[in-house]
């Protein structure tokens, strides 16, 4: 931010498409990609006389999300009608939740960039149905109701965020949670997550909130970051010039990289909420919440802590490993082979990541099977091969797709640990370098490295360094 006198205050509202087979209130398919109006029925198209019936999986997924976000799961919540007119809203109202949502409170813990981890508090999480889609042709608009009735979770944060980077961290963490509990596929580019950003500014140190604007429907991290930067700066300029911030709804223009007001204000602000008479209250018994609690997966924050504590990894290492799902998965599977965590982490972050980045292919295709990588690393741990040899083997495995043992054998990389063989090599080297030997014994310790190198060379690089050092030191000592 270019003006230290002010701070920005950000709140995020995320709409996440829920990963269900069918829609929220009817048995139409909820997936994407179907031809227009092929995933519709009288219910989600709002024909006369139709009625909604709740998808039970949606409730489970919302509870999982609420538990992961440390929210209170309300035993009694209510669906409500939110009325407004728009061609993609077939009933003329959206079934949502208003003053009695399914989850209240909670927080998202962000990985620490520096210092302590930050907690962004949540206001609520609630369920609602999505609307259809309008496509704009030349002289008309075309409406497709495939998306109408698809289940959404709306996750609302308190205005606790203070920078664009923090906003992105929040979104990334939230997405990680949603993917981990199976509530969403997290693919923002495909529209699985949409974000509305509330932005206001105030003088640093002030406690009251300034007037805020709402930027709607951002569907990438990059846009979120840019939009926040732009809008916060715009507001600071306005405030600095003594002007008032108009409380309005904005859109982000990715071409010109500016925010601009939504032209149509057909969205009357009076939604005339009232409890949905076609649906009884949503009763969530405590034992349902408990049983769902027992099936919860490892969540990102927990994983981070575990990785740091149990495996002695630094925050940076944890960040890299858990920054990509595929990398984290890969690491977990390598670990499962019994490899030391630090070594595994290091290997995955260097050799594996490099292989993926250089080949441009997905991780699964660029790197060997994690089981084989694990096996390779175990061979290093057990001194069967040297670290260098492992690197060579790995490079070969990336291309050949052959296993660790086979590759090591094929390339003849097996490390020699046999004392007799090493002793023999040492004897030969010392015999050939008698002058240097005398110098060493006279006190030129620096020559040690020379002898190690010579012995290794004599062994074709395959000497087990540990044993070589032991034997060589003995022999050098005389």
């Amino acid at each position: 931010m270019n003006n230290d006198a002010y701070e920005m205050v950000i709140g995020l509202e995320v709409h996440a498409h829920m990963l269900t087979r069918s829609k929220l209130f009817c048995g139409c398919a909820a997936d994407f990609g179907a031809p227009p109006n092929h995933n519709v029925c009288p219910v989600c198209m709002a024909m006369p006389g139709v009625l909604p019936v709740l998808n039970r999986r949606v409730v489970d997924l919302a509870i999982r999300t609420g538990l992961a976000a440390h929210s209170k799961i309300e035993p009694h919540s209510v669906f409500a009608r939110k009325s407004y007119f728009y061609p993609d809203l077939p009933k003329g109202y959206q079934i949502s939740q208003y003053d009695q949502p399914l989850c209240r409170g909670g927080y998202i813990e962000l990985p620490a960039r520096q210092g302590e981890p930050r907690r962004i508090r949540l206001v609520r999480i609630h369920l609602e149905e999505d609307a259809g889609k309008n496509i704009h042709a030349d002289s008309a608009s075309l409406v497709d109701f495939n998306r109408s009735g698809v289940p959404l979770m709306e996750i609302v944060s308190e205005p606790d965020i203070r920078s664009p980077e923090e906003a992105v961290d929040y979104l990334r963490e939230l997405r990680g949670i949603l993917v981990a509990v199976g509530a969403s596929d997290g693919k923002m580019e495909e529209g699985s997550l949409r974000c509305d950003v509330n932005v206001s500014v105030r003088t640093r140190g002030a406690t009251e909130l300034g007037a805020r604007t709402e930027i709607k429907n951002l569907n990438s991290f990059r846009f979120v970051e840019k939009a926040i930067v732009y809008e916060a700066n715009r507001q600071i300029e306005e405030v600095g010039a003594g002007r008032r911030i108009a409380q309005e709804t904005l859109l982000w223009d990715p071409e010109r990289e500016v925010t601009r007001p939504m032209r149509s204000k057909e969205f009357a602000n009076d939604y005339r909420y009232f409890p949905e008479p076609d649906l009884p209250p949503l009763i969530v018994p405590p034992d349902l919440v408990e049983s769902i609690g027992t099936t919860m997966p490892e969540l990102p924050a927990y994983k981070r802590e575990k990785y740091a504590k149990d495996f002695g990894l630094t925050p940076y290492e944890v960040g890299v490993l858990l920054g990509r799902d595929d990398l984290g998965d890969y690491f977990t599977q390598v670990l499962a082979m019994g490899v030391n965590a630090k070594s595994a982490a290091n290997w995955v972050m260097t050799e594996v990541l490099r292989a993926a980045n250089e080949s441009g292919k997905p991780l699964a295709q660029a790197a060997p099977e994690p089981q084989e990588t694990g096996a390779l690393l175990k061979m290093v741990e057990e001194s069967q091969i040297s670290l260098n040899a492992a690197k060579n083997a790995f490079a070969a495995m990336c291309g050949s797709r052959k296993g660790a043992a086979a590759t090591v054998a094929e390339l003849g990389l097996a490390q020699v640990s046999d004392e007799a063989a090493i002793a023999g090599a040492c004897d030969r080297v010392l015999a050939a370098e008698s002058a240097k030997l005398a110098e060493y014994r006279a006190g030129r310790d620096k020559l040690y490295g020379f002898f190690v190198g010579a012995v290794m060379k004599a062994m074709g690089g395959k000497g087990n360094p540990k044993v070589v050092n032991e034997v060589l030191r003995r022999k050098l000592a005389g």
């Binding site: 006369p48 006389g49 139709v50 009625l51 007119f85 003329g92 109202y93 005339r272 909420y273």
Partner: protein, 486 residues
Amino acid sequence: MGSELNRLTITEARERLRRREITSRELTRDCLARIAAVEPRLNAFITVCEAEALAQADDADRRLATGDAPDLCGIPLGIKDIYCTRGVRTTCASKILGDFTPPFDATVIEKLRAAGAVFVGKANMDEFAMGSSTENSAFGPTRNPHDLERVAGGSSGGSAAAVAADECLAALGTDTGGSIRLPASFCGVVGIKPTYSRVSRYGVIAYASSLDQVGPFAHTVRDVAAVLQAVAGADPRDSTCSARPVPDYERALTGEVRGMRIGVPKEYFVEGMDAAVEMAVRNSLKQLESMGARTVEISLPHTGYAVAAYYLIATAEASANLARYDGVRYGLRAVADNNIELYNRTRAQGFGAEVKRRIMLGTFALSAGYYDAYYMKGQKVRTLIRRDFERAFEGCDLIAAPVAPATAFRLGEKTDDPLKMYLSDIFTISVNLAGLPGMSVPCGADARGMPIGLQLIGPPFGEEAILRAGDAWERSGGFVPRAPRL
């Protein structure tokens, strides 16, 4: 002179069908002939389904021939045009649905089809079920078969008149504030509104979601029980529909009312009530007492507030239920350059005056700043009304009352004064607010011969009690309804 099989009751007809004395085709043809004869004067039907009905009748006859046919197999019914019927135009008596032809059946229609029933036509009604006289139809009013200058009642006027005029043996209506009981009373037939949630609302075009309920009309209580049996019960497509098992309603018709405690609410016998109505109702109660029932005076103190509460709740729900009629996906579409015009004009052109009135009132009742004072207040008073009935049923088994303060009024008599029209429902509306079952059985006629109905109200899921009392009354001979001279 042709046969007049259309004048049979269901009880009589199903027996004769079973014994193959008559066929469904013959029965249906007689109904269709009657329809052709009286419809120009009556206007009980918006759509007559001659070809479909005969095809259904033939199917029914095939099933009957096997000797293994369901109870209503081959019985011709009228269907209020509020039920979605696959492949048959459904208008809800409104212009705004245009030629909308549903690609699906309402659940109760599916059930009746499975039961082998025959649908002779879609019956006229007040537009979107909003009215008490069937004068709010976009297809003209339905006249009362007993006096063509008078209304048939509403909103299920077409269904009631069709049964009264023997155009069909029974008919389906809906009741949100009295729309089955009032026309039943005005037309001199039996009509029952079951407990809210007893029958599925899926495919029933919604007016007020927490009040609408499906129910049948017929000439006798036994007939009405038979149709109710066929439509009641759980439906996974309706989240408000009860899964409670459906009893055998005809089994309840024992004729026995000894020991029954009948509550008589003092608030329902008001000044300004038609003397003939009061007398007919009180006479029927005396008759029931002579058969061993006991009357006990009860009080439903919040009766006077019911109409006000109803017109806030029902209109609010309706304002949202009718928001889908916008010309985008089906129905009428006005010429328009932009979407605001599309919506504004389509709805202005498509909805009648009463519907607009209620949408406006309901929208206002929900709007910012008024929600608490209107909608919320109405729902709170509803709780008080429900409690009145709960308390009353601690001391009685069912409640008896008039259906309306008077008999059928003249066409046009109340159309200038909406509030006056709304007050026709003063005795029926509380029952909807409390979600209770209520039935109208003919109990008398006024000096002009216009029918008077006795209202029997039960506790939740108390259909058996009111059917039993109604049936006992009917069979006691206390009043013999006269067929209309058409």
